[in-house]
Amino acid sequence: MNKPLPKPTAETLPFWQACAQGRLVYQRCDACGRAQFPPRGHCASCHAAPLAWLESARVGTVHSHTTVQRAPTAAFKADVPYAIALVDLDEGFRMMTNVRGAPPDAVRIGARVRIVFEDTGGEWPLPQALLLGETLTFDTFEPGKVYGHDTETVTPELVERWCALYPWDRPAADGAVPDGVATMIATRAYMHVLHPRPPGNVHAGSMVTIHAPLRIGARVTTEVRCTGKTMKGERRFVDVGLSTRDAQGVPLVDATMRLIWAA
């Protein structure tokens, strides 16, 4: 017996479609402003019908949790013990998910988590909570240290969203995606690897080299490292180095970002 797979309904289909794109979406009532999850046809609070779909930043706090010791079906036997949590997303809605990336006894009420998407082997990936560590502060940065790598595939959907914002920036005659997409992927790697960050960081400068064109379907990996940190008066400057390479190791982008770190 296999694990049950998501079965979208008319009301939840937009949610699952977003999951398939790596986006977490929720509803907000146009009439009373309340955030709502799971998706429904009406606002469960004021019964108004018009609901907006919004995208979540996928970060939240554990409201409560429990540990499953006895598998509900044979399909879950290999997973036990595992943690299930009620997560309050920062946008004001709550969802129940498994907690990944840590043993169940490491989960605490109030812990910060990020929602990631787990392949189910079926059509729809499942949102799951990943336990986050301590906020990265200026004091904890170690210049020279590689903080991690992030790999992603250049999807047509990502390029479409880019072109919606910059309609004049079309794919090149040779089929390469707009050059800015490569720098955007490097930025996404920074967001994924250096996390959680204090709120309110500000970008002070950038040095970026674009080496080679990027194509749809390419699988690219970005190394994220701290290249330096300095105090200037009250300001905390952190330099982050990013190197994006394709699956064969061909350089695509090298960048150094200078950030004013908020804490």
Partner: protein, 124 residues
């Protein structure tokens, strides 16, 4: 060979900033949460710096062709925030006759410089 970049313009709105946050994964509240942003030294929501910087790459590709971007380096400072309602325009000018070095910038419609720096665009 052109010595100036064809200018490119972008109207920055709160919706465009939210769309850019979705694409980059950068939901820093200074970009998307007016209440939080009001309490910071910025005094309100600001756009992502790279949202305007992208226009410089696009202006290079538009003026000199996509091939010119490959191997090029941009080195800039974000000197002033861009806010919802601003329209920004990217431009550039060759620093010396026939050379690879360019001055590049992004300015608001009011003429304030928001990004300034240099680009090295090797000839092909």
């Amino acid at each position: 060979m052109p010595d100036t970049l064809k200018p490119l313009r972008l109207a920055v709105s709160a919706d465009a900033i939210k769309a850019y946050a979705g694409i980059t994964g950068d939901f820093n509240p200074i970009h998307v949460d007016p209440e939080f942003a009001a309490k910071t030294p910025m005094g309100g929501v600001i756009a992502h710096g790279t949202m305007s910087l992208n226009l410089v790459w696009q202006a290079i590709a538009h003026t000199l062709g996509e091939a010119a971007v490959r191997g090029a380096t941009i080195d800039v400072k974000f000197v002033r925030p861009v806010r919802p309602g601003d329209t920004v325009e990217a431009g550039g000018k060759r620093a010396g006759a026939g050379g690879d070095a360019w001055d590049v910038w992004v300015r608001t419609a009011a003429g304030e410089t928001v990004i300034t720096g240099t680009a090295s665009i090797p000839a092909r």
